[in-house]
């Protein structure tokens, strides 16, 4: 009798404890989201200081977005993300492997860990601004290269598609590889030493060991890194925005989706911005769902129980 009473009581506590989270979410995220979706069906913008609309236009905004260069910007976003992500994950795996490998005897590993994580702390806008100055045609990078004698003419980094995209990639790489390294390192350390010993006895070399043992074992963390990176990539804004002054130069090849969204927000085109937001929302949802599914088919060490739980429910 008493027990039962207590149980009901506990459930109440559960609801009470999660209440602030949900209240705050509904007010500050859900209402704005619904508002955004609502306006995506309206023609609503400002011309000068006069407001136009809102007039209901149905799916017009969605259709005209499909007709615009949106897909090209989605492509740009993807390319910029890949340029940064591939080296990020490769280097991070390599470094993580080295840091945990006692035989390599890395000196000052604490120092290196501190340093490689450092760029992650700096606001992207300030970082982008520094890059902008340093890689300008008369900037320090060019003057160093010239005084060393490697080049005779200054390189116009930001004037070429390759240059601009590489710089964006480089910055994303620098900002995130430290974070990934440390995550992956911990994942590798979490693998039971017995497995490695066994493989050694079976005559595995280090390459085999890496591909057949380490990689599968750290899959959940890899997935976590990947999802984080995808979300970050989809939201890529500060770096290319400041590096190209919001223009996505040259020829709009470094214009990302969020920069596109921003230019609509800037011209106060609420309808169009709303429709674009809805597209973005759908895409990010699909991407993450796919990644979850791909990486959680089986759960070797059970470390992703939480994600699995969530997925189970989605299935049900």
């Amino acid at each position: 009798m008493k027990q039962k009473h207590k149980k009901i009581d506990y459930a109440k506590w559960g609801y009470l404890f999660i209440l602030p989270f949900f209240v705050s979410f509904f007010i500050f995220s859900l209402i704005p989201l619904i508002d955004t979706i609502r306006y995506s069906f309206f023609e609503y913008y400002r011309s000068g200081i006069k407001e136009v609309g809102p007039n209901f236009v149905g799916l017009q905004n969605y259709i005209s977005l499909l007709g615009s260069d949106m897909l090209k910007y989605a492509g740009n976003t993807l390319i910029l993300w890949i340029i940064g992500f591939i080296p990020q994950i490769v280097i991070a795996l390599l470094l993580a492997q080295w840091f945990v490998d006692a035989r390599l005897k890395i000196r000052g590993s604490q120092f290196f860990k501190v340093v490689i994580y450092l760029p992650n702390l700096i606001m992207a806008s300030a970082f982008a601004m520094l890059f902008f100055t340093m890689f300008s045609t008369n900037g320090p990078i060019n003057s160093i290269l010239m005084s060393v004698g490697w080049i005779r003419e200054p390189i116009d980094f930001l004037g070429s598609v390759l240059g601009t995209r590489s710089l964006v990639g480089l910055m994303n790489f620098l900002m995130w590889f430290g974070n990934s390294t440390i995550m992956l390192m911990a994942a590798i350390m979490g693998i039971s030493p017995d497995v490695f010993e066994a493989s050694e006895l079976d005559g595995c070399n280090s390459v085999q060991r890496f591909f057949y043992i380490t990689l599968p074992q750290i899959r959940p963390i890899l997935a976590y890194t990947l999802i984080n990176s995808i979300i970050g990539g989809l939201q890529m804004f500060d770096v290319p925005q400041i590096l190209t002054n919001g223009q996505g130069t040259p020829d709009r090849t470094s214009m990302t989706l969020i920069m596109f969204l921003n230019s609509h927000l800037k011209s106060k085109n609420y309808g169009m911005a709303g429709a674009l937001s809805v597209y973005l929302f759908i895409v990010s949802g699909i991407l993450c769902f796919v990644v979850y599914r791909m990486t959680n088919n089986d759960d070797p060490d059970g470390s992703k129980a939480a994600a699995k739980k969530a997925k189970k429910q989605r299935r049900g």
Binding site: I49, V52, S160, G246, D251, K266, S267
Partner: protein
């Protein structure tokens, strides 16, 4: 209830002022003092930098002091001017101003915008009769014909709406000159005399021959293609967007700029490394290590852009007549509709833009080319009083004054800023050979519709 009475009072005051203004023009000081009783205690001024504040401090007789951080200026009668400064770039200034204007009607008296400033590129957006953001000067009791009669007439046209009602005024006008390096001129032409150099740059055809001459000695004529844009852009025949229409008509003159710029850049007359203006490379092009012969600048450009970026001694730069008359910039003062301090606003506008003594003082202290024809003629004649050390003792006003009289302002539209900015950006890729001409055109079309969703069509000249 109370609010209603206040607003009634305001209307009465304004009406009285209108009549008073007609009968008794420009009685500075006295008006402000007598009005302070009914007027609000705070004058909010929106601007994008300290330029106007410094000038107010320098010449407005009612100023008592300014706080050390430069955000509040106290007047003699206790009224406070609050300076609300937001940067121009990325449209931040206009965005913040627009927000404030939308809230103007409901704002508390001391929160209302009283004065705001605008620039040539977007003055039209605020002087638009329908938008009615800037008050007609006559509503303040200023008679443009009489009180502002000595101003250069193109500045009055610029601040008028399509019905010809003047809705703003300015202390400066910005005729531009060609500013060149004496050392380079000596090296290439054998002389640095402004009269001789003027002959070398008297029109575009001569200019091109000169550019070739400079190139042979390893110099660039100008730094960037954006430098020459104003000269072409000022002389367009029709506005970018005609009143009441939503079609952008790109003028032939603009296409001339595109073609000439491409030609000049390919020929090596411009520095390929400098892309546009207001960036680090452009600043460096004004340093002593640069090979750039000349810049096209109005008075403020020499003072605020060239001078801080020049790292050598005085007397290296000189001015002469440009190949074509042009105007670059200009800050306009507007009384904001709904202001609760109309008397103060009127007094400030008159004192800052119609008082010849004040304007001449501004010219002396800040090297502005100010907006009084008779004053500027005096300055042009007074070689001793207006000699510039930076220009090696030259009196720049002698060159500015005739240019100012010849300026015909291009027809404006509310879309100018976006058009000018985006066109330069889009064709910059073309100049550098990244994309072809047609791609640049279509990029411009995409960008402009993103910026102005109401634009329906873009017409290019045949």
């Amino acid at each position: 209830m109370k609010k209603k009475i206040v607003s009634m009072l305001l209307i009465v005051v304004m009406a009285v002022n209108t009549f008073a203004g007609c009968g008794k023009p420009s009685s500075s000081g006295a008006g402000a003092a007598s009005a302070s009783a009914e007027e609000g205690k705070v004058i909010n001024i929106y601007s994008w930098n300290d330029e106007f504040r410094e000038r107010v401090e320098a010449v407005y007789p009612e100023v008592k002091e300014t706080s050390s951080d430069g955000t509040v200026t106290t007047l003699n009668d206790g009224t406070e001017i609050h300076w609300i400064i937001n940067p121009n770039q990325d449209g931040v200034y206009q965005q913040k101003l627009d927000e404030a204007l939308l809230k103007q009607a409901d704002a508390a008296a001391d929160e209302k915008v009283d004065i705001f400033l605008s620039e040539t590129d977007y003055v039209n957006k605020y002087t638009d009769a329908e938008a009615n953001a800037a008050m007609p000067l006559s509503d303040l009791g200023i008679d443009p014909d009489k009180d502002l009669g000595d101003q250069y007439s193109f500045t009055k046209v610029t601040t008028s709406d399509t019905n010809g009602v003047q809705r703003g005024s300015t202390w400066q006008c910005c005729p531009g000159l060609l500013v060149y390096r004496r050392d380079i001129a000596k090296d290439v032409f054998g002389t640095d005399d402004p009269e001789e150099v003027a002959k070398k740059v008297k029109d575009w055809k001569t200019m091109k021959a000169t550019a070739k001459e400079l190139k042979e000695k390893g110099y660039f004529t100008f730094s960037s293609y954006a430098d020459t844009f104003r000269l072409y852009g000022n002389s367009i025949e029709q506005s970018w967007v005609s009143p009441g229409e939503t079609v952008i008509k790109v003028d032939q003159k603009i296409m001339d700029w595109v073609n000439d710029s491409k030609e000049w850049l390919d020929a090596g007359y411009l520095d390929k490394n400098v892309k546009g203006q207001w960036n680090d490379d452009w600043n460096k092009a004004m340093g002593s290590a640069s090979k750039v012969f000349a810049f096209l600048f109005p008075a403020w450009g020499i003072d605020f852009t060239l001078k801080p970026n020049w790292d050598g001694g005085d007397g290296v730069w000189a001015v002469t007549n440009p190949p074509q008359e042009y105007n670059w910039g200009g800050s306009y003062i507007h009384a904001c509709t709904g202001t609760d301090n109309p008397e103060h606003v009127k007094d400030i506008i008159l004192s800052m833009t119609a008082n010849k003594d004040n304007l001449l003082k501004i010219s002396k202290e800040y090297s502005d080319f100010t907006n009084t024809q008779s004053g500027m003629q005096e300055a042009a004649a007074d070689d001793k009083g207006y000699a510039s050390d930076f220009l090696g003792g030259q009196n720049a006003f002698k060159y500015f004054a005739p240019v100012a009289e010849k300026i015909k302002i291009a027809p404006l539209s509310a879309y100018d800023q976006g058009c000018v900015e985006l066109l330069q950006n889009c064709f910059s890729d073309y100049f550098q050979g990244k994309i072809d001409f047609d791609k640049a055109k279509s990029n411009f079309e995409t960008a402009i519709i993103e910026r102005y969703p109401d634009i329906t069509e873009i017409q290019w000249p045949e």
